[in-house]
């Protein structure tokens, strides 16, 4: 419909068609360089096994063309189903933990059972992906597989898998290249095995999907509406998700992580005018296939001049701007969000004091206890003074980062009324990570100061992108999140490309990426604490805004709030906090997601006490994480970012379970 209304504009449909034509042309060009046109058919059907050229075309070039189409279609279909079931355009096939689980399984097997990684790579990845999803499924089960429960559980499982993988990768140092290549989604083929494994799965999806379209279409109503139409809601969700997860898990196991296609294809399908679910499914499959084929062809053409970039990383880079372009045309709808009602603390000051007391006790324990060459040791006050130089700076930096992430997370969550929002989601942490990674790779030498500069530049750049693109929608929460995820995915893809280069310098950066306060000097620790204290002092001034904004746009306006100004300022504050925290403990921001939640569950509802309590909780989490990371695998040390994710994840899930009853 859109296409007929404005014929003069280049619509998404024509862009896709153009991409397809270009990809076909490129493929034909490459083939003709290898073989004369009259031989194509014979080579495809029956290659001469003694001719390298013929086997190359038959066993490598053709499977690669096909796998791009099959994987793209599978991701497109999987993404459409996910978005429909989870009722959010933010969902993609990696949302429910499949990619994270597959990655973790491969990392662990490569480390501990390398022989298995050699002989059954695909099976390991498939099993990992399915186990991770099973976990998500079990967590969301008591919630009757509600969309929010599924997304939250998926997010947490993905985070935890990512953290454990990072810890595993760090302990195994230089053997990471293979894993990075896998994670950046290379479509390189040298036989037909991937096609043979994947095609039946996609075919099954194609046959099963039509049976699900009618009940799935009704799912776009809310739960009550769907139920009143007599829909066995639970089973529809179950079957659809199983289908989508199978598709995602098989693609991940076959070619690794292909970013963005499963997210972008359904989005583009809608932008191109497909409205009804069957149309959207079909269009998403076609668009997904074309996107991936075009990306891969583009990369192979580019490989004539530069070193080849894996397709998965490239689709992220290619897809992000596309989303941004089409998002500009989406109408801005201010939807009122239902606030989550919790019990309210009767004596917030008392509760705050108790939390602060626990916080201080944690600091004391962490400074005194630790293993040494002779076993565990509880240091007396005088002994502790000698150890202070090793234990205090990293503890202080960890605590500061926890507080900063918690503040940032509280603001983002209250402002967007979105329990899934966190500093990482709006892309700031990833921006900082990218800044440091580029500095380390491009500059001959680097100092802590220039790293600080690079990280700040990166986070500010990503912040500016979010701010500029969000301006038109007056920082509409959904739009900010969508842009944030787009920025995030693009940056994450770039990071994957850089890691995939296998340069030895990169391995040093990994340590930081996993969130280590390990080498913090006393001076750096003091600066970190000063920054956290400053932010804590500023935060109370935002109390009223944060009490009012969650009520929605109209009530906020009628209460005299300037929407753009207040949202922009809050965004800036939360981005600076997140950037500072990222500098300290890396881009893992699970604390920013977790601390505000825990604080609210403890009964802190008003913005001011909520922020302060979240800050204390955030600090306590990172202090615990620092302690555990220091002592658990002595003499090896785990980065605080990894540990906080690993301990925070299960706790978060336990909270989720409690909310059911």
């Amino acid at each position: 419909m859109i296409a007929t209304r404005d014929k003069l504009r280049i619509g998404p449909a024509s862009v896709i068609a153009l991409l397809f034509a270009a990809a076909l042309l490129s493929a034909a060009l490459r083939l003709s360089e290898l073989l004369p046109v009259q031989d194509w058919w014979q080579v495809a059907i029956n290659p001469d096994l003694n001719s390298y050229q013929q086997v190359l075309v038959h066993d490598s070039v053709l499977p690669r063309l096909l796998i791009a189409l099959v994987v793209g279609a599978a991701l497109g279909l999987s993404g459409t189903i996910f978005q429909q079931v989870l009722r959010t355009p933010l969902a993609d096939p990696s949302t429910l933990g499949v990619s994270g689980g597959a990655y973790l399984a491969l990392a662990m097997v490569t480390l501990w059972v390398p022989a298995l990684a050699v002989s059954a790579r695909e099976l390991v990845a498939l099993a990992g992906g399915l186990v991770a999803f099973a976990l998500v499924f079990l967590i969301a089960w008591p919630h009757r597989l509600s969309p929010v429960a599924l997304i939250l559980a998926g997010l947490v499982v993905t985070f935890v898998c990512g953290a454990v993988s990072a810890a595993v990768s760090l302990s195994y140092n230089m053997g990471m290249s293979g894993l990075f290549v896998w994670a950046s989604g290379s479509l390189t083929q040298n036989d037909w095995s991937a096609i043979v494994r994947l095609s039946p799965c996609v075919l099954f999806g194609l046959i099963a999907a039509p049976f699900l379209t009618r009940p799935l279409a009704l799912l776009s109503l809310n739960d009550d509406g769907a139920r009143s139409l007599g829909l066995p809601l639970f089973y529809v969700r179950l079957m659809s998700i199983l289908l989508a997860v199978l598709l995602a898990a098989f693609t991940v196991s076959a070619v690794g992580v292909i970013g963005f296609v499963g997210f972008a294809a359904p989005f583009l399908a809608r932008a191109a005018g497909a409205r009804q679910l069957p149309h959207r499914m079909l269009a998403s499959m076609v668009i997904g296939a074309i996107l991936l084929l075009a990306a891969d062809e583009g990369l192979q053409q580019a490989a004539r001049f530069i070193r080849e970039i894996p397709a998965g990383a490239a689709t992220g880079l290619l897809g992000a701007p596309l989303i941004a372009i089409f998002l500009r045309r989406m109408p801005v709808v201010e939807t009122p969000t239902s606030s989550i009602i919790e019990r309210r603390a009767r004596h917030p000051v008392l509760y705050l004091a108790a939390t602060a007391g626990a916080f201080l006790a944690l600091i004391w324990i962490s400074l005194s206890v630790g293993p040494s060459l002779d076993g565990w040791h509880f240091a007396s006050v005088s002994e502790a003074q000698l150890l202070l130089i090793w234990r205090l700076p990293r503890l202080a930096a960890a605590a500061a980062a926890g507080i900063l992430f918690a503040l940032s997370g509280t603001i983002v969550q209250r402002m967007t009324s979105n329990p899934m929002a966190s500093p990482e989601v709006i892309g700031v942490s990833t921006g900082a990570a990218l800044g440091i990674l580029l500095l380390v790779l491009l500059a001959p030498t680097f100092t802590p100061l220039s790293q600080l500069g690079a990280a700040t530049a990166g986070s500010i750049l990503s912040l500016i992108i979010v701010l500029v693109t969000g301006h038109r929608s007056r920082y509409n929460p959904d739009h900010v999140l969508l842009f944030g995820i787009a920025v995030n995915t693009a940056f994450a893809a770039l990071i994957a490309v850089l890691l995939g280069t296998g340069l030895p310098k990169v391995f040093g950066v990994l340590q930081w990426m996993a969130g280590s306060t390990y080498s913090t000097t006393p001076l750096q620790a003091m600066i970190a604490v000063a920054v956290a204290a400053t932010m804590l002092l500023i935060a109370p001034f935002f109390g009223r805004w944060l009490d009012v904004l969650p009520l929605g746009a109209a009530p906020s306006k009628s209460l005299g709030l300037r929407l753009s100004f207040s949202r922009g300022t809050l965004l800036l504050f939360s981005a600076i906090s997140a950037a500072a925290a990222t500098l300290l403990i890396g881009p893992m921001s699970f604390v920013g997601l977790m601390a505000p939640h825990i604080a609210r569950t403890l009964g802190f509802q008003r913005a001011l006490t909520h922020m302060l309590a979240a800050a204390l909780v955030g600090g306590a989490i990172t202090i615990c994480a620092d302690f555990i990371g220091r002592v658990a695998l002595f003499p090896n040390q785990l980065p605080v970012g990894v540990v906080s994710t690993v301990i925070g994840g299960p706790y978060f899930l336990w909270l989720m379970r409690k909310q059911v009853h």
Binding site: L56, A115, R121, N190, W390, F446, L510, P635, N636, Q637
Partner: protein, 310 residues
């Protein structure tokens, strides 16, 4: 919990062996003492913590056993030769050596790579840090390794041992040069499998490439800027006349042999004409000891003689 307990037992055992080995090296350290370490108390062996496997290997080749090395178990897998005695204390992970543990070991000198630059301010509080030693592959990797080895030997005050190690490496190079002179007319590919679809293709800036060129052999793919490029397996068939030196990867053991199951791989000229040589793993950032190890393995593969006779 079990693993933690085991770990502690492990640490305690190592502590005991450490003391025993200290006594042992006290006795054997007398010869080294002649070279004289300026800041060392008389009569004590060199107490050096080596925070990188290439540095540790170089130290062992220089006749000094480091007191602490990160993840010695991984050293055994990646470096293989020269092996570390079991007395060496595990000081943690490669990029995060444990400060408290290092301080307990009381080293006189900490030798690190620039990768630990960030930790240097904290390491300085434990002992003087010699931190610009880098055996990472780069242009002139062999020259850098020679200079680095000599500088390290100078720093410890054992210049003669450094010169001897350089001389030994030089001897390995000239033996190989003579033994493999018949291979001059061929071009060599250097690769290592990453998984069943990708390989790292090494260039002249890798230790392996530099060694090959130093003994007068030709690289089939000289246009690789870094240490290696990651390429799809299918690309390798394009090198029609090349000899393939396929280095086993300690990360995916046995993968090199498994590639023969692939039909495309079997059509590659170097596979069907029998010009494929599979070599055990060698650490590319292992300095001169790694270069020597690679040369011996190369001679064994190409001429059936590793020249260990002398």
């Amino acid at each position: 919990m079990v693993t933690i307990n085991k770990m502690h037992l492990d640490v305690r055992i190592r502590r005991r062996t450490l003391l025993a080995s200290l006594a042992a090296s006290f006795a054997s350290g007398c010869s080294l003492q002649a070279a004289g370490l300026p800041q060392a108390p008389k009569g004590e062996a060199h107490r050096i913590a080596a925070l990188d496997w290439g540095i540790a290997a170089t130290l062992v080749a220089l006749g000094i056993v480091p007191i602490g090395v990160p993840a010695p178990a991984w050293y055994a897998r990646y470096v293989v030769d020269p092996s570390l005695p079991s007395s060496v204390v595990d000081v943690g992970l490669l990029f995060t050596p444990n400060f408290e543990l290092l301080q307990a070991l009381a080293p006189q000198l900490i030798v690190a790579t620039p990768a630990l630059q960030q930790a240097a301010p904290m390491l300085q509080r434990i002992a003087p840090v010699y931190g610009n030693l880098l055996f990472q592959p780069s242009p002139d990797v062999l020259d850098i390794a020679r200079r680095g080895t000599l500088a390290l030997a100078d720093k410890i005050g054992i210049r003669t041992a450094g010169e001897r190690l350089i001389e030994e490496t030089h001897r390995e190079l000239s033996i190989s040069n003579a033994k493999l002179s018949s291979q001059r007319d061929r071009a060599f590919l250097l690769a290592s499998p990453l998984d069943n679809r990708h390989v790292s293709l090494f260039g002249p800036n890798s230790l392996y490439g530099a060694v090959l060129q130093e003994i007068g052999l030709t690289l089939a793919e000289p246009n690789i800027a870094g240490e290696f490029n990651i390429v799809g397996l299918e690309r390798l068939g394009a090198y029609g006349n090349a000899e393939m030196i396929l280095l086993e990867s300690p990360v995916v053991p046995g993968m090199a042999a498994r590639l023969t199951e692939n039909r495309l791989w079997r059509t590659f000229p170097f596979v069907c004409k029998g010009r494929l040589h599979i070599l055990p793993a060698t650490l590319g950032s292992g300095g001169l000891p790694a270069a020597s190890r690679f040369l011996r393995l190369l001679r064994l593969a190409l001429s059936g003689d590793d020249g260990r006779t002398q």
